[in-house]
Amino acid sequence: MGNKQTIFTAQQLDAYQDCTFFTRKEILRLFDRYRDLAPQLVPLDYTDQPDVRLPYELIGSMPELKDNPFRQRIAEVFSEDGEGNMTLDDFLDMFSVLSEMAPRDLKAYYAFKIYDFNNDDFLCKSDLEKTLNKLTRNELTEDEVRMVCEKVIDEADLDNDGRLSLEDFQHMIVRAPDFLSTFHIRI
């Protein structure tokens, strides 16, 4: 916790600490993880805020995300350009939201965006179908997928417009006691 590190200025570290759920130590550790993905691309000196962006392939190859069926969507949601190429800020943001300290509403907001494949701020039927196929590795038949989507929209859609809005999603999350522990990546 001393002032020996030269990667960030003290103000930067303070800012990171206030804006994420990590302590200084964890931020430095996360920086090391980020750098390990591509040591030749990431400089050791972030004091002048270099614009370094790691391509999605490197992010998706992290052991925590490698086998996750939603890794592409996670990277897309948290990346600035929407394509999955992440800066250090995006990287920290992603793991901060997915840490155990993040409150339920914040996680629900990002979970909603992750499951929203077409980025239209609603979970429509096609989004649900894609989610199901990723969850079950295409093991359900088309009929079953269709029925599950219908039933899900039936159950969760409160304002009856045929698709789930953020409010519907958050209302449903309130009733799920283990959402906080499943929407969590340990790093």
Binding site: C19, D67, M172, S181, F183
Partner: protein, 766 residues
């Protein structure tokens, strides 16, 4: 140009408005759908929508909305840079479309950001940090925001110095909590194996294995208490016996006779006196243990009292735990929300993002797939199973076959037991030989055979019946098996407690309790051996048979009913036998451990999941209630009967000189009254509680009233929830209606001559 009179004009106007109304109605539908296409909303509509109170309730949501709009604006600008299309922003944003209002965008965004900053500044330091962290903005935006918020504060150190203590504490708490949860979940016995089984075979089969784990925990508890308070003291201070010569053959392990009968395993070993911890064996006199010593500081441990109270307390605690877990299970299945919301939650909240190994990910996928299929089938409702024969007559026939076979089995066991007793009397008069000892295993063997074959008969019988759903079939099967087990156990109890215990001399027994304990031990062991044989040979051979001879492509399905009832049968035997064989729970523990692994391997090799997955949500509840009601209740009743009414044998055991077993407790209470008058109230309490029925009736009445009130509350809550849901739907409809009307008015004003917005009147107005 027609000149119309006033009347005529009015009539014409009203006629035209009628026509217009009709045309309106016809095109209203299409208009509504047209107008609901949100791209066409004007900026005015959007502005009105975004300032609706429901969207700006509370400061928290306001910030969120503002930040959402912020995000929307950045995204819009991003999209504009990349593509020139209008983005399908169906969520109304304050700025409306972005194409024509790019410069407007930036100004609006600035004001929004300023608003956010002001809001943040108005909060306290801790709240500020919390709000900043919880805002769904990107980190870059947050740092900019933070810089602005703190640019006019004294220094950043203000914030960081005020925050540490509570946030660090919170963080520490979180870490501890998650660490504990992690440890607890990794300590759960057989967690990985259960996950695998659940994923592959469904919740029905999983509930069987969870039930094994529950029984194991009960038995561990029994074993620990008994071991600590009963077996250990007696083992440390063994009573003096005249050593009898027994040939050590392997058969003793199975029959419980021979050197085992004079060991700490059985009732007869325990003394009926007080052990004093400082006495040495050479001072003891035969049969009475250590008698008085002059040292007042040593601890006296009264064995009969310990025996009595240990048994009573273990039964009492087991009963409470059973009733508590049963009520919790019931509570879970009669949730207020029923099965609503389950599927959505399962789809969105059940994927554990922490799982990172490929194998575990695949397992999780399998698990979720199976659960979704089960939930779906529950939703679909049971399809009619294609029965072979249908009709009432078949059901009657099936039931009569089952009941008849149960009755004859029980009768057969009764007669066989009588016969075996007579044979044993003859044996006892003769000399002890291996064959005679082996004959002790005959009755358990016959009972186990009956237990194995009759469920097969029940399966055959139910195969020809026609059931509505697999759940009904399972319940019927469980009920038939239950009747079988209850009748067998009833007959055996009658024999042991009614015949043998009542007249032990007629059956040639010195110590009938040890004999009954040995019988129970034998039953437990033989049952286990037969289960092993059945699993290894029966299931395996049936699989080969069905795949080879019957040419079925699918392996057989795991028979839940029969296996669960076998478990309950074994546990009932254990509970019956705890009074006579304090170490019986240890035998049951070993048996359950071996059974788990054996059944798991057999399942993976021989069986496969049922083709129609069904949700076994009530299975655990059913198993626990079966364990509580027939099994535990029966065991408690027979133990209470033994303690209350049967005279203990006079030659052995801790209650040898008492008229009834519970007299040890009574004597102690009376001694207590005389030696320590302050504790006399205990005696009074005991008399009040146990011997006075009025108090029990009162308690029962109070409980019933509480249960009734709770059910009424639950009913009321359910009604309110459905009413609220209807209300929300209606509000949604109202909103849609108002939006379309608003948009229609706006369009009419904007484009008064456009043909699409107004239907043509039939006449022409001048």
């Amino acid at each position: 140009m027609e000149v119309l009179t006033t009347e005529g004009r009015d009539r014409l106007a009203s006629h035209m408005s009628d026509v217009r109304e009709q045309a309106d109605e016809r095109s209203e539908e299409s208009m509504q759908t047209n107008l609901l296409v949100r791209n066409r909303w004007s900026a005015a509509t959007l502005r009105v929508l975004s300032s609706m109170p429901s969207r700006s309730v509370g400061q928290q949501s306001r910030l969120e909305i503002i930040s959402q709009c912020n995000i929307r604006s950045t995204q819009l600008r991003r999209y504009h840079r990349q593509t020139q299309d209008v983005s399908l922003s169906s969520r109304p944003s304050i700025r409306g479309y972005g194409i024509e209002a790019d410069s407007e965008d930036v100004c609006e965004e600035e004001t929004k950001r300023q608003e956010l900053v002001n809001n943040l500044q108005s909060l306290s330091a801790g709240d500020r940090v919390r709000m900043l962290r919880a805002t769904p903005l990107s980190l870059a935006e947050k740092t900019k925001l933070r810089k602005r918020v703190f640019s006019d504060k004294v220094g950043q150190s203000l914030l960081s110095s005020q925050v540490p203590c509570c946030s660090l504490l919170k963080r520490a708490l979180y870490h501890i909590l998650f660490g504990c949860l992690f440890i607890v979940s990794s300590l759960q016995l057989w967690q990985v194996a259960l996950k695998r089984l659940g994923g592959r075979f469904g919740t029905g089969v999983l509930s069987y294995f969870l039930f094994i784990r529950t029984l194991l925990l009960f038995n561990v508890f029994l074993f620990l208490i008994n071991g600590l308070f009963l077996v250990l003291p007696q083992a440390i201070h063994p009573p003096l016996h005249t050593p009898s010569s027994h040939r050590v053959t392997g058969l003793e392990l199975f029959t419980g006779t021979g050197y085992l009968s004079n060991s700490v395993m059985f009732y007869g070993y325990y003394t009926n006196s007080t052990i004093n911890t400082s006495c040495r064996p050479d001072e003891a006199t035969a049969g009475t243990g250590c008698s008085t010593t002059s040292d007042p500081h040593m601890m006296a441990y009264n064995i009969p009292l310990a025996y009595f109270f240990t048994i009573c307390i273990t039964f009492f605690i087991t009963g409470i735990v059973l009733v508590y877990s049963m009520s919790k299970s019931f509570g879970r299945s009669f949730r207020v929300f029923k099965s609503q919301g389950n599927l959505a939650i399962k789809v969105f909240c059940s994927w554990d993002f922490k799982v990172s190994k490929k194998m575990s990910v695949r397992l999780q996928s399998e698990n979720i797939t199976t659960q979704l299929k089960e939930l779906l089938s529950e939703v679909k409702g049971g399809e009619e199973e294609k029965g072979r024969l249908s009709g009432m007559a078949v059901h009657l026939l099936a039931w009569s076959i089952s009941l008849g076979s149960t009755f004859f089995c029980a009768l057969g066991i009764h007669c066989f037991a009588k016969h075996m007793h007579l044979r044993r009397l003859e044996d006892v008069e003769g000399e002890v030989s291996l064959v005679h000892e082996a004959r002790l295993l005959a009755l358990p063997g016959v009972v186990s055979c009956g237990n194995l074959l009759l469920p097969g008969l029940f399966n055959l019988v139910s195969w020809m019946e026609n059931f509505n759903s697999p759940i009904v079939r399972l319940y019927v099967s469980i009920f038939r098996n239950l009747l079988l087990k209850v009748s067998i156990l009833g007959v055996l109890c009658y024999h042991w407690l009614g015949k043998i215990a009542a007249e032990p001399q007629q059956h040639g027994l010195q110590c009938w309790e040890s004999f009954v304990g040995q019988e129970l031990y034998r039953f437990l062991l033989v049952d286990f051996i037969f289960t092993v044989l059945y699993t290894v040979f029966g299931e395996f051979i049936w699989k080969l048979f069905s795949q080879g001879v019957l040419r079925r492509r699918r392996k057989p399905v795991f028979d839940i009913a029969r296996n669960v009832l076998e478990l309950i049968y074994g546990q009932t035997l254990t509970w019956l036998g705890v009074l006579f064989t304090p170490l019986l729970p240890a035998v049951q523990i070993l048996k359950l451990l071996l059974l788990f692994h054996m059944k798991k391997s057999s399942l993976l090799v021989n069986c496969q999941a049922s083709r129609k997955p069904w949700r076994a949500s009530q299975m655990s509840t059913l198993f626990i209630s079966l364990l509580c009601f027939p099994s535990f209740l029966g065991a408690t009743v027979s133990v209470t009967y033994t303690i209350w009414t049967i005279k203990p044998s006079s030659g052995c055991g801790p209650f040898r000189n008492l008229p009834f077993m519970f007299h040890s407790g009574k004597q102690w209470a009376q001694e207590l009254k005389s030696t320590n008058p302050k504790l006399a109230w205990l005696n009074w309490v005991h008399g009040c509680l146990v011997e006075n029925p009025f108090f029990l009736f009162l308690m029962a009445g109070v409980f019933l009233m509480v249960i009734y009130v709770q059910t009424q509350i639950l009913d009321g809550q359910r009604k309110i929830i459905s009413l609220l849901q209807d209300q929300i739907e209606n509000e949604g409809k109202d909103k849609k209606f108002l939006i379309t009307r608003l948009q229609a008015v706006h369009e009419k004003r904007q484009y008064p001559l456009s043909p699409s917005s107004r239907p043509q009147p039939q006449g022409s107005e001048v």
